[in-house]
Subunit: 280 residues, 4 copies
Amino acid sequence: MTSYVLTFSCLDRPGIVAKVTSLIAQHSGNITSAQQFNDPATGRFFMRVVFDMANVETFSASLSSIAQELSFDWRMRDVAKRKRVLILVSKFDHCLLDLLYRVRIGELRMDVVSVVSNHSRESLKLSNLHGATFHHLPITRSTKLDQELQLRNLIEETGADFVILARYMQILSDSMAQWLEGRCINIHHSFLPGFKGARPYHQAHERGVKMIGATAHFVTGDLDEGPIIAQNVEPITHRDTPAMLIAKGRAIEQRVLASAVGALIEDRVFLNGRRTVVFD
Amino acid sequence: MTSYVLTFSCLDRPGIVAKVTSLIAQHSGNITSAQQFNDPATGRFFMRVVFDMANVETFSASLSSIAQELSFDWRMRDVAKRKRVLILVSKFDHCLLDLLYRVRIGELRMDVVSVVSNHSRESLKLSNLHGATFHHLPITRSTKLDQELQLRNLIEETGADFVILARYMQILSDSMAQWLEGRCINIHHSFLPGFKGARPYHQAHERGVKMIGATAHFVTGDLDEGPIIAQNVEPITHRDTPAMLIAKGRAIEQRVLASAVGALIEDRVFLNGRRTVVFD
Amino acid sequence: MTSYVLTFSCLDRPGIVAKVTSLIAQHSGNITSAQQFNDPATGRFFMRVVFDMANVETFSASLSSIAQELSFDWRMRDVAKRKRVLILVSKFDHCLLDLLYRVRIGELRMDVVSVVSNHSRESLKLSNLHGATFHHLPITRSTKLDQELQLRNLIEETGADFVILARYMQILSDSMAQWLEGRCINIHHSFLPGFKGARPYHQAHERGVKMIGATAHFVTGDLDEGPIIAQNVEPITHRDTPAMLIAKGRAIEQRVLASAVGALIEDRVFLNGRRTVVFD
Amino acid sequence: MTSYVLTFSCLDRPGIVAKVTSLIAQHSGNITSAQQFNDPATGRFFMRVVFDMANVETFSASLSSIAQELSFDWRMRDVAKRKRVLILVSKFDHCLLDLLYRVRIGELRMDVVSVVSNHSRESLKLSNLHGATFHHLPITRSTKLDQELQLRNLIEETGADFVILARYMQILSDSMAQWLEGRCINIHHSFLPGFKGARPYHQAHERGVKMIGATAHFVTGDLDEGPIIAQNVEPITHRDTPAMLIAKGRAIEQRVLASAVGALIEDRVFLNGRRTVVFD
């Protein structure tokens, strides 16, 4: 018996769950976990089913015809097959360190196939990439398209399922963002209220906010505005200097990004227009 | 079309979801929400399905035979039908106040049929019970069984679905607790580490804990040890006196109890041995 | 012996703490609590001292001359003397209810001298104002200045120390806001990112945020932009409808406003330019 | 001008703050931060003052005589002088990794002089100790006292100010704990309610708790019962397996320990009987 995770979304209509779960039962599959969500706002239906099955061939064929009938796209994956991930980073490597460690202790079950930076290897404080190949792809305004082409080739060569911007301080071009749609996530600071422009922690300090946070989201053309996957915050006080805010911000960024990556590699995240559905 | 919520749990086996959801589809029902959980530790399966259906009669009959076949108990309820709730209280009425207010603004969709206290009406700071009948059922060591009998009669007469101990400072007898199993919840303070005995906030202060919290749980024979439904905490500091801990504790108790009651009246809570399953 | 709280702020310079605390010692006062903060960003110094003293007359006189020398304003208050508070409200009264209850159980040590609404008494769900006088001061675009004049008279007549906008859905005029500077606080929702305009919870839902929160702040000309006193947030999920966000928002608003009011009436809040200093 | 941090605690009496701050002023020092706490429960007074001063010699001498007069112990430290820290670890190195990283990025301003484990270097997943010397001090029931003697020598040789048990799975002997009193902290899991014995996360899962947490505390003879410095928790659900609890627990342990270590090396932690005073 092998364990599979099946995910799909479609317009809601009566009988979807019945059809899919009956099909699994007919092929002697046993559902071990299932989550679904009907969004009353958009009329869309989202489902994630984990099941054990001996032979998935004929099941796949039958599922295809149901999918055609109900017009939905589906993905099915052997749970044991680890996702391949490429991580982009600039100079700050606290998120990279955190992700690599969680991989190493088995918390994040994924393979980091490559670490790419627009700065040289020496710019990273991190001493060990634990098997991930490092690529230095410098970027200037005039070489941006070239660099993105190299990056694109690298993503294709390595067969990366996901790209993680782990404090990568470059805005992807619209075409690159579009090409990566649904496969690329970013982490950035978040405040109540928010701030545009440079040195956000200094702005937050100047404005006297009492909480700071971070947001992990899908990358779209607009860098910090894609569908949100995870958020978290921490309280701060008048004693916190900008330097202390930055330090606290790092810790929040680490755990918010790790949480979003965990959801992503376990197929628990769905795009739902400008929003996401994230199953626990 | 009427909206129903169906809940059941049974030993896990292949095909359960398929059978139930197919039956809903056959009776032209449309599932608007479904949650399920397979507990690998106990082998039990839990499901909550909300669906719209025009006529539920023949569906109920068919469901009964499936339930017999898979040997599970099920409950089905018209979503619009409000749960009836009896609230027990002693002198501290902050939880009672909070529950009544959440009922009044429509956040908790339930009917408070009766408020019962072992103290007189005058002992409550609360000025208005908003239609709930007040019953004074005093208790002494020697009248405990009598009082519980009166309480039992009251629960039956009022047709209460649930009993909420909203800071009721009496321990129910074993037989009473057993009679109310799965229908009665309690709120109590919680600390890291925990403390037994009187004046727990003073003990927590004396021990110098840095967080205090509250736990809402099903009542069993052992007052503070039943299956946990909800918990929450707040940070405290060395500046917090016992009086401040008590004040903070009140706020936590209010919101933890409200959260547990909300889950209960929406049929989102299942007993699972010593634990609970609480769907979001 | 009477307990006093002394608060002041001034430009930082060597010897301030020594001068003030020596003066207290010379007058046989005993400091029971003191907090101070030197803001490196603005060069300002903030201090709050609580002390017991038998006779405060000569101490006050000496303090005045030190204050003149170091050019700072100071306030000193008998700790037992309760602050007088006027609460403004529109139709939503969950914050009003929460404040009145915390007053009643002794958690907030203040006197609510008046409750003012731009709607009639019947618009409030709350049944009992516990001694606070209710004033209906309706407002239209053309009567705004008149209404604010009435409000101003009422604040003066009642001798209110603070005005709390407890979900008062009117923007104060610039002149009114200026007149109330440092004496008036407001509560409003806060999101990551923030949203302008109507129906913010619907906007937050549409945008798919994963946390919602509330901010209590001093009122300035710009309604939601004054110096922040307290903030808090709660996690939400894709399952939360706008109605659920509004319900969760209410609970957050209650506890953030109560926290800010508590700090204010205990003289723990200082204005520091666009920011605040809030001692624990 | 050099920046110093002065800390002391004594029985509370009038004039202490005045005496100490006047002395600083007399020696042309400028206070940049001060925190104090009078514990009404124990009658003790705690103070931490940070000040800039050109020449600290004569000030120290005068302070000594005040200290003798008021019978208190004091410590004064050049803020720029980094604390020396020795870290003890067994096989789980997530806390060690986290501490070393925070040192490297400048968040924790301390020198890790030595990493000691009862297991071999190969047992650690961590690839780089960034300059800290590794010592393998194996331990068995019969060699415990010997091992602790070696450890004691190492602490003395390296001049370590603090010892951090970063998931060191050995209980220190009473004499060792006593020798390290106030200089040694430990991190351990915390639950609501707590659990004794082996495999605590499995016990917490079995009991169905809805929150898990961690506690950082001073080490005393009773391993998990010393004065608490920091605590934190996270919510969990019925879906969390013991493995997921352990993973979440790791993240909480990391940030609670880092928070406690940060407070310790900045002289913000005081012992207060069975409790602590931790200034922000």
